[in-house]
């Protein structure tokens, strides 16, 4: 009779460090992980199917809910894809405002990641500080779109409303405060021996594996591959901005931490440029029958009124064809594949969810390491569940 040497432990789905409902079946030999298998599918939102059953403009609020930490990036991805399908050119100001908002989102998402990742590794105060700074960004969202998380602010053909009057002031204040506070975070974590011991050399992932697993975002750049869609395949006017792509060659969780801190700095830089150079102009493209006319027009202009009624009740018809538009969301490449069939609803919406694809790296990161480092590996992937399990079923 053979004696089983290893022990199988079930981690999750209700585990505080899994950031939601991830279940990992871990096979242990003593304290060493022999095999780790993530089990997904505990949270199925069915967002793609929901979007297919809605008019194009009504599908937009669904995208907010795919990643509650980065609503504006998701809005942007979807809107760019639909604009590509419909062949709409948005005004210059909209592009700049969108870039600014998308970068705010990146800062927001990375701050929450920083807080929760540090909390997983035992640094409680980091979470409180990160959420305090995040509040500044959430306030800007609220002033723009009216809600703190589910903003639905970026719309097909432009923005939902004009940017608020104090937008510039608020963003400048936010940039100043977060720049200052980033130094505080670095004092807390970068040279903290406990943090270093928990992250350096942990959750290793070689560049070759990262490419083979088709990872993207900070996880890929953390393995030394400088791929960033903002540079490689600019969208929404990113080519006008001057920023560096942060890359880390250490391939471990510590490198990814440094990389994300650097990304926050670069994002702030882009925000600043966007605010400085924001051109004047309308906040919506003028495309009758597709983009809603300004609200004040519908009171006095018959034409606008008719288009308003038509768009709201029937939606707009998209041509037949498929488009794929990918953006660099805070978590990686977020792609929208939309097939139009000449009607007012998309025939197919497929989302390339960065979290889901990045999760494939978990076994590679954990195997051979210690059990307690599984938490660190999950944290450094930066998972958001709504986006993740959308495609499992």
């Amino acid at each position: 009779m053979s004696i089983q040497k290893t022990m199988t432990i079930n981690m999750g789905p209700q585990h505080p460090s899994t950031h939601g409902v991830l279940r990992v079946v871990v096979e242990l030999d003593g304290e060493t992980v022999v095999k780790a298998r993530p089990v997904v599918g505990y949270l199925h939102t069915g967002i793609e199917k929901t979007m297919e059953s809605k008019l194009y403009y009504k599908a937009l609020p669904c995208t907010d809910r795919m990643d509650y930490l980065a609503p504006m990036s998701n809005n942007l991805g979807f809107c760019l894809a639909v604009e590509k399908l419909m062949d709409i050119e948005v005004p210059e100001k909209v592009k700049w405002a969108r870039v600014c908002l998308a970068e705010l989102t990146r800062v927001n998402s990375h701050l929450v990641w920083l807080g929760t990742h540090a909390l997983d590794l035992g640094a409680m105060s980091m979470l409180l500080y990160a959420f305090r700074e995040r509040e500044l960004i959430i306030d800007i969202y609220e002033a723009c779109g009216g809600q703190r998380m589910m903003t639905s602010y970026i719309r097909v053909g432009g923005l939902a409303h004009e940017l608020p009057k104090d937008f510039e002031k608020k963003v400048r204040k936010m940039i100043k405060v977060i720049r200052e506070r980033l130094n505080d975070y670095e004092t807390l974590l970068t040279n903290n021996e406990i943090f270093i011991q928990r992250t350096r050399g942990v959750a290793l992932l070689s560049a070759e594996d990262a490419i083979n697993l088709s990872l993207s975002g900070p996880l890929l750049r953390g393995s030394g591959v400088a791929r960033d869609l903002r540079k490689d395949n600019p969208y929404s006017g990113y080519e006008n901005f001057d920023f560096d792509v942060a890359v880390s060659n250490s391939c471990d969780a510590y490198g990814r931490y440094l990389l994300r801190i650097e990304e926050i700095r670069q994002s702030l830089r882009i925000c600043e440029q966007a605010i400085d150079g924001m051109p004047e102009g309308p906040y919506r493209a003028h495309v009758p029958g597709v983009v809603l006319p300004p609200k004040e027009d519908i009171m006095y202009k018959m034409e606008s009124m008719i288009f308003h009624f038509k768009i709201i009740t029937e939606g707009f018809k998209a041509p037949t064809g498929s488009v794929y538009q990918a953006i660099e969301s805070p978590k990686g490449e977020l792609g929208f594949f939309i097939t139009g069939d000449g009607t007012t609803q998309p025939r197919r919406v497929r989302v390339r969810p960065p979290s889901f694809i990045n999760l494939a790296a978990l076994p590679k990161m954990c195997e051979g390491g210690l059990f307690s480092d599984v938490v660190c590996a999950i944290g450094s992937i930066d998972i958001v569940w709504e986006k993740l399990t959308d495609d499992v079923v």
Binding site: T187, H308, I312
Partner: protein, 168 residues
């Protein structure tokens, strides 16, 4: 050896620095609020509980055109039309199911009469499901009100939609 020295340096120099950051916060005014007593004002565009506007003579602005229900991505709005004594269209039943509503504000954007708005109120939890179906009576604003409602509406529209030129 170098590693060890660096680690010792981290423990004895960098970590106290980090501790000093947290220590500093003992003397900083807390950013948190004493919630039920203190409240943060919401921004003018905040999308909270809905309300239905009236004209300044007290008649309802809503004409039951159904645009808000058509725009609603969550199918939360239900209405039945009626006529007033003067022969004008109005809503007999107008209900919003708050359990379905996602507070996207599309109804507000769609309404051609500036009748429905999303207000500032966000505290509307209740113990039973029925109280989340809001009827017209619950949502209509009080009639004799202190400020001029029409002016208020236009002001609000201006604020929300960034209208700068004078409304004709």
């Amino acid at each position: 050896m170098k590693e060890v020295i660096k680690a010792i340096g981290n423990v004895f120099i960098s970590m106290p620095k980090g501790l000093f950051v947290t220590f500093k916060h003992l003397f900083i005014k807390p950013v948190t609020l004493d919630y039920p007593k203190q409240k943060n004002p919401m921004s003018p565009r905040y999308r909270g509980k809905h309300y239905l506007e009236r004209y300044d003579d007290g008649t309802e602005r809503c004409v039951c055109c159904g645009l808000c229900a058509a725009a609603c991505p969550a199918d939360a709005i239900y209405m039945e039309p009626d006529e007033t004594e003067k022969g004008e269209r109005c809503a007999k039943v107008y209900e919003i199911n708050l359990l379905r509503c996602i507070f996207c504000g599309f109804c507000e954007e769609a309404c051609p009469e500036e009748a429905i708005f999303l207000g500032q109120e966000y505290e509307f939890s209740a113990g039973d499901r029925d109280s989340f179906i809001w009827t017209k009576e619950e949502m209509l604003v009080q009639h004799p009100r202190k400020d001029n409602p029409l002016k208020r509406v236009i002001r609000r529209v201006r604020k929300v939609y960034g209208v700068t030129d004078k409304v004709k």
